[in-house]
């Protein structure tokens, strides 16, 4: 299976991309996927991070399914 991970602002700068694709083996939670991203991009740990699954704020325990759109970003600062 394949999932997209989106990055914005500070997290896109750290990762050097606005989007990556991962291929979990199945059964992972959102937390597992994010931990994998953080292992590849340890600079993200310098930030307080939020994440979303399919455009909804997510906890670590969401099931991840093929084709999901995940995102990792810092606390929002619009307005």
């Amino acid at each position: 299976m394949s999932v997209r991970i989106l990055f914005f602002g500070a997290t896109a700068d750290v990762v050097g991309a606005q989007e990556i694709q991962l291929s979990p083996t199945g059964g992972e939670t959102s937390g597992d996927v994010f931990d994998a991203v953080l292992r590849d991009h340890p600079g993200l740990r310098n930030h307080k991070l939020l994440f979303s699954v399919n455009q909804e704020f997510a906890s670590r325990s969401e099931p991840v399914r093929d084709g999901d759109e995940l995102a990792i970003f810092t606390a929002v600062s619009g307005g």
């Binding site: 989106l6 914005f8 602002g9 500070a10 700068d13 937390g31 994010f34 931990d35 994998a36 953080l38 292992r39 993200l44 740990r45 930030h47 307080k48 991070l49 939020l50 994440f51 979303s52 455009q55 909804e56 704020f57 997510a58 906890s59 670590r60 995102a71 970003f73 810092t74 606390a75 929002v76 600062s77 619009g78 307005g79």
Partner: protein
């Protein structure tokens, strides 16, 4: 009619405020946020706003629905600008029309506070000697444990 939009064009406050006006209401309260020249004493040259656009629109829609359940209001309009903004340009406008102006004030204040906590938009401050993505200090959603 409620509306919520993201735009890279300059925002006209009057037109936003006018679009929320129903004939039976007498007052609209509008919050106009704009680019500050100085933040903590440091001079900003310009700002760049970026959004997770589809999620930002969903969160804006949720905010309006929540505001309707909390306050006696008629219509809400929210427009957030994206891209490069010069000093003094409007970054966000929230207009609320209500039969009684007290509800319009309360709803407008609630909406801007929650927008800053929940809508996935980020601003980058650009200085003469660098730039920084601002990170919010009061996010609504608790931060997940990010220690792998």
């Amino acid at each position: 009619m409620d509306f919520y939009e993201l735009t890279t064009d300059p925002i006209d406050i009057t037109s936003v405020a006018r679009r929320v006006v129903p004939p039976e209401c007498g007052a609209t309260v509008t919050l106009d946020g704009y680019v500050r020249k100085f933040t903590k004493g440091r001079e900003t040259l310009h700002l760049v706003y970026e959004a997770y656009e589809p999620m930002a629109l969903k969160e804006m829609q949720k905010l309006i629905e929540q505001a309707r359940s909390l306050f006696e209001i008629a219509n809400v309009g929210i427009v957030h600008r994206l891209g490069k903004l010069e000093i003094g340009e409007t970054s966000v406008v929230i207009s609320v029309a209500a039969p009684h102006r007290k509800a319009a004030f309360e709803a407008c204040e609630w909406l801007i506070r929650e927008l800053k906590r929940t809508v996935p938009v980020w601003k980058k401050e650009v200085y003469s000697d660098g730039e920084v993505w601002v990170e919010g200090d009061d996010p609504k959603y608790s931060l997940p444990n990010s220690t792998a």
